[in-house]
């Protein structure tokens, strides 16, 4: 069986036509004065989903989150949560909790008081609060730090306190605003997996806002890629990466090489694309690009082979010369300047310690790729 990208878990309510969305943004617009932060946006998130809103700063993703939390009201449109219209419900009555980017830990309260804060507001009996707080401390592995104040903790520990505080009330939805933004790279990678485990363990619906695509790809079941207040594509990480819907998405997520051209010939699902300077590219499963349409062929660097000679079996091969080489340890990235001047980025996994066909700066080189290695984009 073939699959697009690797499969993580068999959870795909979005493919089930009978499934009811848990959170539903229905034609939501949010304006701040003249500025439109969110523009006629519709989006469905399903129960127990780990959903990521990915976009550059100012794309409206945080506004979307804040509208869900109740800190902003939509200018028009509706937001439904579990069948309930959220309009007019203040933040302190919404069954959602948020983990803030700055963590927003109360500096004058100890770790356990911070975690207990929301439960106290609920009027939960003290014995139960203590039990829940202990449970939360165990969950985030902070039992020895219960009595400490936030300023006595490291960045990673503070992040976990913020997390424990926001899940302590067992909200219907947990909103995470750049949850790992303040952590260093190594800690961030560890915490990504911790967050995923936590979500599985608690069975909550997570909506995370991030500008870090790696973070979104690692954690989320589905990603919504946003730009200028609109959703460009909603799909699983693998679909977003391997089958981007547009040039914007292809460019935004990961590295990509883009060849602009025209569809010269179409037979079945395969097309032949002619580039500006006559380069020919054969693509299988090319979607619905019609003959003579202006299209872009997008291919990821790791799907391109670099060699000193043209591989005999190659369907698509273009000639150029090595312009730059970056050796990253696990892989080597080549920048190859094609004869028509276009720069191509190719990444080769360093699967062996000894390289058979070494290339160096200014060497003549061929780049080659399979006809199903890239996608044809019409938008």
């Amino acid at each position: 069986m073939k699959s697009l990208g690797s499969i993580r878990r068999a959870f795909a309510p979005w493919n089930d036509p009978g499934a009811k969305p848990y959170i539903h943004f229905d034609k939501v617009t949010k304006k701040f004065g003249d500025f439109t932060a969110v523009n006629d946006l519709s989006l469905a998130v399903y129960e127990r989903e780990f959903f990521a809103l990915l976009g550059a700063s100012g794309c409206g993703k945080s506004t979307l989150l804040r509208m869900l939390a109740g800190f902003e009201e939509p200018t028009s449109g509706r937001i439904m949560l579990d069948g309930q219209d959220l309009a007019g419900i203040p933040p302190y009555r919404r069954p959602v909790n948020m983990m803030f980017q700055s963590y927003a830990l109360f500096p004058h309260m100890s770790v356990e008081k911070n975690i207990a804060f929301g439960l106290k507001q609920e009027g939960m009996p003290k014995a139960e609060i203590d039990k829940r707080v202990a449970e939360m401390l165990k969950l985030v592995k902070l039992e020895p730090f219960a009595k400490r104040k936030p300023h006595q903790l490291s960045g990673g520990q503070r992040q976990r306190v913020a997390l424990a505080r926001s899940v302590a009330k067992r909200p219907k939805v947990l909103l995470l605003d750049e949850p790992l933004g303040a952590l260093d790279k190594k800690l961030r990678e560890e915490t990504q997996f911790e967050l995923m485990d936590l979500q599985q363990e608690l069975g909550l619906t997570f909506v995370v806002v991030t500008h870090d695509q790696e973070e979104a790809m690692t954690m989320a079941d589905r990603i919504a890629i946003m730009d200028k207040g609109q959703v460009m594509q909603v799909a699983t990480p693998a679909e977003v990466y391997e089958a981007p819907a547009s040039r914007f998405v292809a460019n935004f997520v990961g590295n990509v090489n883009m060849f602009e051209g025209k569809v010269a010939e179409r037979s079945g699902s395969s097309v032949r694309i002619t580039g500006g300077t006559g380069a020919q590219i054969m693509v299988e499963n090319a979607g619905e690009a019609a003959k003579d349409a202006d299209v872009a062929f997008a291919i990821r660097p790791e799907k391109i082979r670099v060699s000193s000679k043209r591989p005999a079996d190659a369907v698509n091969a273009l000639q150029g010369e090595v312009y730059d080489i970056a050796y990253l340890g696990d892989m080597t990235v080549y920048h190859v300047r094609l004869d028509d001047g276009q720069m191509v980025r190719a990444a080769t996994m360093n699967a062996t310690r000894v390289v058979d066909d070494p290339l160096t700066w200014d060497d003549k080189a061929w780049i080659s790729f399979r006809p199903d290695a890239g996608v044809v984009l019409t938008q």
């Binding site: 302190y92 948020m98 927003a104 500096p107 507001q121």
Partner: protein, 322 residues
Amino acid sequence: MTNVALPAADTATAAQKPLPARLAAAFVSRLVIIVPYVWLLFFFLIPFLIVFKISLSTTAIAMPPYAPVLGFGDGISGFIDGLKQLSFDNYVWLTQDALYFNAYITSVIVAGISTFLTLLIGYPIAYGMARAPASLRPTLLMMVILPFWTSFLIRVYAWIGILKPEGLLNQLLLGIGVIQEPLIITNTYTAIFIGIVYSYLPFMVLPLYSSLEKMDHSLIEAAQDLGCQPIAAFWKITFPLSIPGVVAGCLLVFIPAVGEFVIPDLLGSSRTLMIGKTLWTEFFTNRDWPVSSAVAIILLLVLIVPIVFFQNAQARAQEAGR
């Protein structure tokens, strides 16, 4: 391998710098700390000692009006004779006349009530300023400081014009029919409270503003997100976090208010007994420098002891829960 040893050799030479050079370097780094201490020595400690010495003298019809005048005109033995004449009689006198004790108590109470009123009025102002759009804040700040550009005396005088029976306030209230008889405000404690609150409001607002302004608004959002209504969020988050500003503002108002002389003199009645006025009377009317110096020294102790105690407590609290 030899290269590796080089940096170690470098540090060795650094440690073996000649002693004078190291002393000079240490001196320069200390100089920064020495400057404020020298300032305090010359403009606080030495004047304090002079006043303290006068408080131990006796009055004399002379110039200056006290004896002994310590000096070396009669040699060392004359100086020692002078020292022998000093006594704590003036302090004993302060305890024997209830006037002084009452004046201290009244001053502390008046200053305490005024400080509380200033906090009550200043907090909402500071809060509003801190929540105002960032572009508006410098203007608001300017408006708080603006009254300082007019003479303090003139501003207090102006209040007489406003508060007196035929003054602006009474005319306004009579005009709109709220009252039938003019209110008697001048020459009462109410007038003193109004004067102190008005004059010292900026000293309350500024530290409050600075502690409220730097507070992260997402803390309030977090509290609301966790189910806290806005008013409860204020008392559970905003207010506790602004306590350093509250303390600083209260001290800045309370300390000068205790020794305040101009406001009770102009706005209060002649019967108003406050320590600043007592001190003034002793000094200028009775020309009793030694007693007025003793009054001043006691006033200083009355103020300093609780403040030092309070600041220590606060420093410890801050150490524990920043």
